[in-house]
């Protein structure tokens, strides 16, 4: 069971703060992490490998600093790590990114067959949930998104079964292998990396692929290959200033009466 996991190194957006005076992002000193959903993707891949054998290869596209995330993945137990880095890749939107990742996965498959590709359901910095589906579409592989559980894998018959989240509940889907799966956090709990793996990770020779290795069509890479572009950045519009009804010096019953005067018209009018 050979599995590839696509990782993205992202700023820890829970740490992003807004400068209240300038309304700009304060990005200085924000640590980089592996996109949290991708960690669950990796964990699931490792669990399957431990059960069925095979290799787990992690890939990421990014600047050389993204090696940190790959080493982290090695420390969790990944067998091999590949960094996709090239100036030509910079500024890629999701269409170009999926082209590059699919190209790299294709090259990996020249070396070893893959049965599954795992991605997180989306990255916390972009929140697009588009690269996983994009890779599957490029490879012509079946796609299963929002997967909450892998029920079972039957490598002999090249088929597996998952549960996935849908808007109104969940569904059980049976699918051919190979396939691409995107996972949600509920799928598993992350284990801690044991010490020997931490030591191995620190010295692990991460493989680096540039476009010279991949030989992709330059017109489909980076800004040039990205149909979408950001035209404008703005701050969310503020609602009209509200009305303070009562402070803490007013008795609760009185406050309730004042509020009810305001709300009753809204509550009893049935149409928007």
């Amino acid at each position: 069971m050979n599995i590839a996991v696509c990782l993205k190194q992202v700023p820890d957006t829970s740490e992003v703060r807004i400068n209240p005076k300038t309304n700009t992002l304060m990005r200085e000193g924000i640590p980089s992490i592996i996109n949290p959903y991708d960690v669950h993707a990796l964990e699931e891949a490792l669990t399957i490998r431990d059960r069925l054998g095979g290799r787990v290869t992690v890939l990421t596209m990014g600047p050389p600093q993204a090696t940190d995330s790959l080493r982290k993945a090695i420390s969790y137990g990944a067998d091999h790590a590949i960094l996709l880095t090239d100036r030509a890749f910079a500024g890629s939107d999701t269409l170009a990114t999926s082209y590059i990742l699919a190209g790299a996965l294709g090259r990996l498959m020249d070396r070893e067959p893959l049965d599954l590709i795992f991605c997180g359901k989306q990255a916390i910095d972009g929140d697009t949930a588009q690269v996983g589906p994009g890779i599957a579409s490029r490879l012509g592989w079946p796609l299963l998104t929002y997967v909450t559980k892998i029920d079972g894998i039957d490598p002999t018959n090249q088929v597996f079964q998952v549960q996935r989240k849908i808007e109104v509940g969940r569904e059980v889907v049976r699918c051919r292998l190979p396939a691409l799966v995107t996972v949600v956090k509920e799928i598993n709990e992350i284990r801690y990396a044991p010490l020997p793996d931490l030591i191995r990770a620190a010295h692990y020779p991460v493989e680096v692929w540039t476009n010279a290795d991949l030989g992709l069509d330059a017109s489909q890479l980076g800004l040039k290959g990205s149909p979408t572009w950001v035209n404008k950045i703005s701050t969310p519009p503020m609602r009209e200033k509200g009305e303070v009804l009562a402070g803490s010096d007013v008795a609760p019953a009185e406050t309730a009466r004042i509020l009810a005067d305001k709300l009753i018209p809204h509550i009893v009018v049935p149409n928007r």
């Binding site: 269409l95 592989w141 950001v230 309730a256």
Partner: protein, 390 residues
């Protein structure tokens, strides 16, 4: 309510229990090379000067029920189509969908492109993306709008890649640049801290997914009608690679939070699970549903299905009462489009007051019982106004 399909005869269910999954061994018959050959990595250039024309809305339906976001998109799509002076069309995929066709016109579509095929029921990424790609290639829409539901996001990424076009996820505002015929796609970025307006260059259709409940549903016009353009899927059922074995729908006895007209939501400021019950009492008294901030859900005071915000639901009720919620940006992006917002919080500087229509500085746990009593008494016998839109 489960929709069961016939089990595949080739792979009995027992093959999928953990115990019977055979350990992997070298298997010379593995068909990996075949999968690899399918990689269509060669450049597929979008044809230049496509006669791209018209705005399309994907009408998402599950077992004959249309997702409300589809009609919300029909509403905003109508406005954009009028600005661009082009037709507005719906796209409907499924099986036995004839009864839904007239709804598309009643909510504003001029034309409906539809495929009725047993393979399109239930939804699978495989068949629905092939169907939608086929229709786009046959009719060249200029703009394609899809609801940012799990299904919509599953579908849109596949379709946009197959068509080699741009896709903007989770938009909260849409407009058009009439001169350049560009869709202005605005979405929150960095957890809602900023808004980015994104354009798509020289590729069609310009594709966007749009969060539910950011646009209001248009009035139904029963007298409107239009032409349905039926197409064939033309797929061989024996060639499909995925099958929905079972569908387990959530049991929701109280309706959908994102369709509620009144929501009473509680946050960490309530202090305890017991105090969170005060939220439930107020909701009950005024015919509302319960919402919760992420900290409240993480504390186990309310289930995740009630979480409002960036990582939960976006809601747009007529009345949103936030009790003990400070108003982190991640929460605000999920509820700031509510018509009337009441904020009750001890901290007068809490960000929730920036979006509140009415603010009360005070302890929510103390105030909620009084508000429950007052509103409950005054509403006794009055219509509750809680009828949900269809």
């Amino acid at each position: 309510m489960t929709a069961k399909k016939k089990k595949s005869p080739k792979a009995p269910p027992s093959a999928f229990t953990e115990k019977t999954v055979p350990p992997i061994t070298d298997n010379p018959e593995r068909s990996d090379t075949k999968a690899h050959e399918q990689i269509p990595l060669e450049s597929i250039e979008a044809p230049k000067n496509l006669p791209a024309h018209g705005i399309w809305v994907y009408i998402e339906q599950l077992q004959g029920e249309v997702a409300p976001v589809s009609w919300e998109l029909m509403g905003v799509g109508r406005q954009l189509a009028d600005k661009l002076n082009c037709p507005l069309s719906g796209v409907l995929l499924g099986h036995d969908i004839q009864p839904l066709t007239e709804l598309a016109f009643q909510y504003g579509a001029d034309t409906l492109y539809a495929i009725d095929d047993p393979m399109l029921k239930p939804y699978t990424n495989e068949c629905h993306s092939i169907a939608l790609v086929q229709l786009c290639q046959a009719h060249h829409p200029e703009i394609l709008l899809i609801g940012a539901t799990t299904t919509g996001r599953d579908l849109s990424g596949s379709v946009a890649t197959a068509l080699r076009t741009g896709l903007t996820a989770d938009c909260t505002q849409l407009d058009v640049d009439v001169d350049n015929r560009k869709l202005l796609q605005t979405r929150p970025a960095f957890g809602g801290n900023i808004l980015a307006t994104i354009l798509c260059r020289d590729r069609w259709p310009q594709m966007a997914t749009v969060r539910p409940r950011v646009f209001s549903k248009p009035e139904k016009q029963p007298e409107r009608s239009g032409a349905v353009v039926w197409s064939d899927l033309g797929l061989d059922p024996s060639k499909t690679v995925m099958e929905v074995v079972e569908r387990i729908l959530d049991e929701r006895t109280e309706g959908y939070l994102d369709e509620a007209d009144i929501i009473v939501a509680g946050g960490r400021g309530l202090g305890s699970k017991d105090n969170f019950k005060l939220v439930e009492k107020l909701a009950q008294a005024i015919g509302g549903m319960i919402g919760a901030s992420r900290p409240a859900v993480e504390s186990g005071w309310a289930p995740y299905s009630h979480q409002v915000g960036q990582t939960g639901l976006t809601v747009r009720p007529k009345l949103y009462i936030a009790a003990g919620i400070s108003g982190a940006i991640q929460h605000l992006v999920g509820m700031q489009n509510s018509d009337v917002i009441v904020a009750i919080n001890k901290d007068p500087d809490a960000p929730i007051f920036r979006v509140a229509t009415y603010g009360i500085v005070g302890d929510a746990a103390t105030l909620l019982p009084a508000i429950t009593q007052e509103l409950g008494a005054r509403m006794h016998g009055a219509p509750l106004g809680t009828e949900r839109q269809l």
